[in-house]
C-alpha cells in the first residue's frame, strides 16, 4: 500500500497574525458602531445600555436669602464677597447653571440664588442654605456644662469664648480616619498657615482639654490630644457629603450670616434634543462631508479613507463608553463634541507635520478649561481631552488597519 504524504509549505506566521489582527479590528469597529447607534440595545433583551440623557435629571430652583447685616461694617463689600463665596461653592460642585443677584427691599438686603443642575438637590441645597461660619471656641469657666437642666450648653456657641476664625487656617482637609471605636469615619483636619505661631500656642495651651468648632452657632466638641492634630468629626455618610463639607470649609469665609426665607421651583431652561434624530443628522453630515471630499478630488483617497475610519472609530467608541458606563450626557454637548472631533481628526490626518502641535495646544486649552472653567465649559473640556487622546489612538489603529487590509487584499 502506498503511503500518503502531506507536504506543508513554510507557514508565514506574520501574515496569519496580521490577518487575525485585521479581523479582530474589523469585528471591533462593527461592534462599536452597532452599540453606539441609537436604540440598538432593543435588539437584545439581555443587555441594557441606552444613552443616559441628562435632561431627565435636571431641576431648577430659586432661593431667596435674607442677609443679616447687623455685624457688617461695609454692606456692599460684604454682599459682593458673599456672592463670590456662594458662586465658588456651586462651581466647585460642578453645578451646571447658577446666577446670584442682590437687591434691597424695606431696608433689608436679599440675595436671589438661581440654580439649574442635574446634581443631587439635597447636596446643592446644603451649599446654598448654610452660611457655614466657622469659629474655634473654648469653654467659659463660669458655665456648668454638666447641668442636666441645660443639656444643650456644650453645643451652643453663645456659651463659649471665640478663639479664632476660619481665616486663620490655610485649608481644611476632609478625610477618613479611624474613630475611637476603631471604625473609619470622616474628619476635618484644620491646617494652619506654616508661620502661624498663634495656632500652635493655642494647641499647646489646651492640650488634653476639650475645645470646640462652632459652625453656624452649633458647637462640635474636639479633644486636643498629644499629636496636636485638630480634627473635628464630620457628619458625612458618604463621599458626596464629605465633598460638600470640604467645599463648605474651603470656599472662603462668609462675611455675614443669612437665612433662607423662600424657595421656589422654576421652569427648566435646557435645550431639548432628540438624540435619535441628532445621531442620524450627524451621521448623514459626516457622510456628506466625506462624499464631497471624494467628489471634489482635492484630497487623496487614502487620507479620506484614513480619517473616515478614524472618525467612525473615535465617535463610536466614545458613545459606546458613555452607553456602557451609563454616564449621564448633555446631548447638545455630545453633538458639539462629535463635530469638533470630526474636524480635528480631518486636520491631524492630512497634516502629519502639525499633529503634535494640534494635539499639544488643544490638550493645554482643555486642561486650562478643566481647571478654571465652570459648568458646561468644564464638561466640554473634560470630554474634549479624552477625545483628543482617543482620536490620536484611533488614527494610529486606522492607519495600521488600512495598511494590513490592503496587504491582505493585495490592493
Amino acid at each position: 500500500m502506498k503511503k500518503i504524504r502531506f507536504k506543508f509549505n513554510k507557514i508565514n506566521w506574520k501574515e496569519i497574525f496580521n490577518y487575525f489582527v485585521s479581523v479582530v479590528i474589523s469585528a471591533s469597529i462593527l461592534a462599536l458602531v452597532l452599540i453606539s447607534l441609537p436604540l440598538t440595545e432593543k435588539v437584545s433583551s439581555s443587555a441594557s445600555y441606552d444613552l443616559v440623557n441628562k435632561n431627565n435629571m435636571y431641576w431648577a430652583k430659586e432661593y431667596t436669602l435674607e442677609l443679616d447685616i447687623s455685624q457688617s461694617s461695609d454692606i456692599e463689600k460684604d454682599i459682593t464677597q458673599l456672592k463670590s463665596v456662594l458662586q465658588k461653592r456651586l462651581k466647585q460642585f460642578d453645578v451646571e447653571q447658577s446666577s446670584i443677584t442682590s437687591y434691597k427691599e424695606n431696608d433689608k438686603y436679599y440675595l436671589k440664588v438661581n440654580v439649574q443642575t442635574s446634581k443631587e438637590q439635597e447636596l446643592v441645597e446644603q451649599l446654598v442654605k448654610a452660611p457655614f461660619i466657622v469659629t474655634i471656641v473654648t469653654r467659659k469657666d463660669d458655665v456648668n456644662y454638666e447641668d442636666t437642666e441645660n443639656p444643650l450648653f456644650p453645643t451652643l456657641k453663645k456659651t463659649m469664648i471665640k478663639q479664632s476664625s476660619e481665616k486663620d487656617f490655610r485649608n481644611v482637609y476632609v478625610t477618613k480616619l479611624k474613630n475611637t471605636s476603631g471604625e473609619y469615619s470622616y474628619f476635618a483636619i484644620f491646617k494652619a498657615w506654616p508661620l502661624s505661631s498663634k495656632w500652635n500656642e493655642f494647641l499647646n495651651k489646651y492640650i488634653g482639654q476639650t475645645v470646640g468648632v462652632s459652625i453656624d452657632g452649633f458647637v462640635t466638641p474636639v479633644q486636643i490630644n498629644e499629636d496636636k492634630i485638630f480634627a473635628p468629626s464630620v457628619s458625612a455618610i458618604d463621599e458626596q457629603y464629605a465633598k460638600v463639607t470640604s467645599i463648605l470649609y474651603n470656599s472662603g469665609v462668609s462675611p455675614m450670616s443669612y437665612s433662607t426665607i423662600k424657595e421656589e421651583e422654576k421652569p427648566l431652561n435646557i435645550a431639548e434634543v432628540d438624540y435619535i434624530k441628532l445621531t442620524e443628522g450627524i451621521l448623514i453630515a459626516i457622510l456628506f462631508i466625506y462624499v464631497y471630499l471624494l467628489v471634489v478630488e482635492k484630497t487623496r483617497k487614502s487620507i479620506i479613507l484614513k480619517s473616515g475610519v478614524a472618525t467612525v472609530l473615535t465617535v463610536s467608541s466614545w458613545i459606546t463608553y458613555l452607553k456602557l458606563s451609563a454616564t449621564p450626557v448633555d446631548i447638545f454637548i455630545l453633538a458639539l463634541e462629535v463635530i469638533v472631533v470630526a474636524a480635528i481628526i480631518r486636520m491631524i490626518t492630512e497634516n502629519t507635520d502639525s499633529r503634535v502641535h494640534i494635539t499639544l495646544l488643544l490638550t493645554f486649552t482643555s486642561l486650562l478649561c478643566i481647571l478654571l472653567g465652570f459648568g458646561y465649559v468644564k464638561i466640554f473640556a473634560n470630554d474634549l481631552l479624552i477625545l483628543i487622546i482617543l482620536s490620536n489612538l484611533s488614527l494610529l489603529i486606522s492607519t495600521y488597519y488600512i495598511s494590513k487590509v490592503r496587504k491582505s487584499l493585495k490592493v
Binding site: T80, Q81, K83, S84, V85, L86, Q87, K88, K91, E96, Q97, S99, I100, T101, N269, A271, K298, F332, I333, L336, V340, A343, I344, M347, N351, D353, S354, R355, V356, H357, I358, L360, L361, L362, F364, T365, L368, C369, L372, G373, F374, G375, Y376, V377, F380, A381, L384
Partner: protein, 120 residues
C-alpha cells in the same frame, strides 16, 4: 450695553476674575507654545492678534445677539468662545506645524504658507 451692566451687576467677583483669567491664560499658553515651536516673531504675533480678534468678535457677537436679536445670553453661550478658540487654535497649530517642518528650507515665504494652508 445692557449685557455689560448685567455681567457687572450679576456676576460675582470670583466668576468674573476666573473667567478673565481663563481666557488670558489660554492666550498666554498658546502664544508661548507657538513661539517655542516656531521661534518666529511674526507667527507668534499673528497668533496673538488672531486670538485677541477672536475674543473681540465673540464679545461683539454677544452684544449683537443680545441687543439686536433680543436673545437672552444664557450659560450655554459661555461655550461659544471656547469652541471658536478650539478651531482657531487648531488652525494656528496647523500653521506652526507646517512652518516648523519647512523652516529649514532657505526660501520659505509667508505667501507660500498661505497658499499651502488656505488655498488648497
Amino acid at each position: 450695553m445692557n449685557l455689560i451692566q448685567n455681567v457687572i451687576q450679576n456676576w460675582s467677583r470670583y466668576e468674573l476674575r476666573t473667567e478673565i483669567f481663563l481666557y488670558l491664560s489660554i492666550i498666554a499658553i498658546v502664544v508661548l507654545t507657538i513661539y517655542l515651536f516656531s521661534k518666529n516673531g511674526k507667527i507668534t504675533l499673528l497668533s496673538f492678534i488672531s486670538l485677541c480678534i477672536l475674543m473681540l468678535l465673540n464679545f461683539l457677537a454677544f452684544i449683537i445677539i443680545n441687543s439686536l436679536l433680543k436673545i437672552q445670553i444664557t450659560e450655554v453661550f459661555r461655550m461659544t468662545p471656547v469652541i471658536s478658540m478650539v478651531f482657531l487654535i487648531s488652525n494656528l497649530a496647523l500653521l506652526t506645524g507646517f512652518y516648523s517642518s519647512k523652516k529649514k528650507k532657505k526660501k520659505i515665504k509667508f505667501a507660500n504658507i498661505r497658499k499651502r494652508i488656505y488655498v488648497r
